[in-house]
Symmetry: C2
Subunit: 260 residues, 2 copies
């Protein structure tokens, strides 16, 4: 809870309160500026990845140099920029765009940015717990294939994926090249039909200690968590996934329409 000063105290402490208000205002302005610069950074709008000088940013955005510094501090804390001696503030962001418009596997959606490799941490049959069985439409405690993969782009961890597949399809996956191929592509090959649609839910969560260690991210790092139930084109649910993306390595972009 933000604590509020009672009115009497406010009157007694005009000077500190006015100072606090100035600080608040600068923090608000810094956030506002940081959001604008963040968009430019993600859209790769700065030539050679070098931001303009602080004075220039201040003039362009009509804010004080202190506000510019505070905004750059925010972007630095997020790992989007770094200060390099003799060069200035440079973009160091390794954030990649994941399409929200179309159902695509990671290697498909990121193919321009390099190959996705998968470290298979676990792959084998498990008895389906009730919520998995229910969502995949298989009998409770019947075997389903469980796969756990740490996925990397450019060698760096991108996401930790927990996947459940009905055993009649899943058995075939065990003979496939899970290290180098999206499960989506393999499912289409194995079933001989394209995927149809997926129900997705996205959340922002703080990484627990163990997930952070696996993803080589700081404890508490913001993660983009994706719960996704994917169906074949005939409507059959075929792939239930729980995916933790490193928040500093992924953006999700799409197009929304006002009418359905």
């Amino acid at each position: 809870m933000v604590r509020r000063m009672p009115a009497e105290r406010l009157r007694e402490h005009t000077v500190p309160v006015a100072a606090a208000r100035r600080r608040r205002l600068r923090a608000d302005q810094a956030r506002q500026l940081a959001d604008l610069l963040r968009h430019q950074i993600l859209a790769a709008r700065f030539p050679r990845g070098v931001l303009p000088l602080e004075d220039r940013i201040g003039a362009d955005y009509r804010v004080s140099r202190n506000t510019v510094r505070q905004a750059l501090d925010l972007l630095r804390a997020e790992g989007l920029v770094e200060r390099q001696p003799g060069v200035g503030t440079v973009v160091v962001c390794e954030k990649y765009p994941h399409a929200l418009d179309r159902l695509q596997g990671l290697a498909e959606t990121l193919h321009e940015h390099g190959p996705v490799t998968n470290e298979v941490r676990t792959a084998g049959p498990v008895p389906a717990p009730a919520p998995v069985a229910g969502r995949l439409g298989v009998p409770e405690h019947s075997d389903v294939l469980y796969i756990e993969r740490l996925r990397r782009l450019g060698g760096l961890p991108l996401s930790l994926d927990l996947t459940y597949v009905p055993m009649d399809v899943g058995a075939g996956l065990l003979d496939c090249d899970l290290e180098n191929t999206d499960v989506f592509r393999l499912l289409e090959t194995l079933t001989g039909q394209p995927l149809g649609h997926a129900d997705i839910t996205l959340e922002a969560v703080n990484a627990d200690a163990h997930s952070a260690a696996v993803l080589q991210a700081p404890r508490g790092a913001a993660l983009m968590m994706l719960d996704r139930l994917t169906h074949l084109s005939d409507g059959r649910p075929v792939d239930l996934e729980f995916i933790r993306f490193r928040g500093d390595r992924i953006t999700m972009s799409g197009l929304l329409h006002r009418t359905a």
Copy 2:
């Protein structure tokens, strides 16, 4: 970086390494279980919001009691459940679903969950910086309306929204009830045409100290950050927003299709 033990040390320390491996395995199992329970929690599947007893969860999911405890610890750390003496583990989640399928204002999409109120922190004309002018299609440094709102659901902060609107439309917004009405609805009334589409980008970020204080969330809390450029049905960009949602209060759900 996760530190790896060199091979020599691995051989010398078989017992601690085996213990570490057991811990890793339990942590992996706990995450796996937590993800399944998390879905049940968000879908409000537990009668009266009370989770089954630990032994029962262990039997249902075929894991040890220690794994169940560790999974519940993960959910507790996220603020999804609490342990209540004499009752057990209860759902305390105040997470609401925001539709990703249709372009909707916050009050529209959450109307079943209660009224959204808006604390207008700032509202007035500002000279449009280049990236705002470019995206809204107005001359650089011409005035645009800037609005900053802290949005609440059920009295609790849900999001901090920074909004830019071209001045010809924005001037009318200043006379409207911004406290109780979505900007989307007001824009449709003022322009006499429905909204068309929006380009969105979602990110998971850690809250900086000041944003955390405004949102009454812990410093570093995971936020869902939304960059959204909304167009009228005639295609004109009319509303540029930078929105920080508290990660513990919002989920984003939608449907993806394999073919466009």
